[in-house]
């Protein structure tokens, strides 16, 4: 059951924030920043950059909240638009696109899995070995696939990457994504379609190579 505060919509929280209510700003930040942070993290693959972008997005909201027009879209779309602009500016300044798999946690997990598989484990009779650091083969495959998908997303053109992240990872509707990207719904749909085709192609192309390496050793 939602609390009273959780039932308050973004528009009311924003008005209270503009009136100087710090608690309303805090609640609004905690409600909306995770999606912004994830978007920046998926786009950049860099935790520090994602935090910087998140901070800049909400700094902009604090200073220019009056620029938000409810008639033009949701607050969430407004914030994603700001995040997108900040990311583009950072890339323009840095002049490089950071590849995705720089997540230390993900790497540690994969290394731990590999170490556990090498030590061996007692079987429970079903062929699923379990040990302190060992995960099941399915989980390993899942982690590996996730890593490959993340890598593949990082190689997409920026417009396609944005469409995949917003529509597939953040589960936005076409309309919400269109508002965030400031483009028509049809454009979002076609970009997503093309992006998925490219991702499927990349993942499919890697599979024969992986099967060959597995057989070989």
């Amino acid at each position: 059951m939602k609390t009273e505060t959780e039932l308050i919509d973004d528009g009311l929280l924003l008005r209270r924030m503009l009136a100087g209510d710090e608690d309303s700003f805090t609640f609004l930040y905690r409600r909306r920043h995770p999606a912004i942070y994830r978007f920046a993290l998926h786009m950049s693959g860099n935790v520090a950059l994602a935090e910087d972008v998140t901070q800049e997005v909400f700094m902009t909201l604090i200073r220019d909240a009056k620029k938000f027009d409810p008639a033009r879209g949701t607050l969430s779309g407004f914030l994603f638009g700001i995040a997108r602009n900040h990311l583009r500016r950072r890339w323009e300044q840095d002049r490089h696109s950071t590849a995705l798999p720089n997540d230390a946690d993900e790497l540690d997990t994969l290394l731990a899995v590999c170490a556990g598989a090498g030590k061996g484990s007692h079987s429970n009779g079903n062929g699923n070995g379990r040990g302190p650091f060992l995960v099941s083969r399915d989980e390993f495959a899942s982690l590996e696939t996730v890593g490959r998908v993340r890598q593949a997303i990082g190689t997409l053109p920026q417009n396609y990457r944005e469409a995949v992240i917003l529509c597939e990872l953040e589960e936005m509707s076409y309309e919400e994504a269109a508002a965030a990207l400031n483009c028509p719904v049809g454009t979002v749909r076609s970009r997503l379609h093309r992006a998925r085709a490219l991702l499927a192609e990349k993942l499919h192309d890697e599979q024969p190579l992986r099967r060959a390496s597995a057989v070989g050793g």
């Binding site: 805090t26 920043h33 993290l41 935090e51 700094m59 604090i62 996730v146 998908v149 953040e170």
Partner: protein, 244 residues
Amino acid sequence: MDCVQFREIYHELDRPGTSGFIFRERALAHAEACAGCGALLTDGEALDFALRNLAQQRDGSVASPRVEAALLREFQRVKHVGQQRRIYRQLAILSTAAVILLALGLGVHYRIVSKARNTPPQVASTVVKPAAETPVISATPASPNSSKAALASNTQSKPASVNPPDDNEYAEEFVPLPYADDPAALEGGAIVRVTLPRSALASFGLPLTESDGTDRVAADLVVSQDGTPQAIRLVSQATPNSEF
């Protein structure tokens, strides 16, 4: 459904509100019948699975608390600046209003004062209508000490018209003043009733009269057209004139 239509919608079969969601059953039926489209569907489902896993992996990701702390500091700073600006704006509005009111007040005051200065003083009709009678000027000139200035400083003019001495008054003959013009030029002049200090009579060359208890005497002045007194005569009141 054909393969072209399938390829357009197969990536959104699970997305509500899309054409893929609407034609989902037809698309699945086509995929079962078409190997190529079936393979596309399988790849798409595998991609969906991977994307969902990726999304779940990041689901709880949030920025570190330092970000929130920095934002709250900025919020407080902007709020403080905003309050100061509001105060300054109110002060500016009040100051502007005060200046405008002050300017209006000064303007009104200046207009009132200017009007008062420009209004000519009400001259109680001191000089007056032309002489009702031809002044008779005696041959005895006034004392050389008499002067126009003494006349001006010691006389008080009687307002309203000057009439010839009435039954209650006794007037002597006009005595010309030392600087008097040719008597023939007095035509068109006026006779002005004045009151003089008794002591001023000597300056006009007139003998001091016996005091009747008042220190002022009534006199008639003959004034030429240019306003210069030409002659004077004393007017005695049968009853004291309390006018001055």
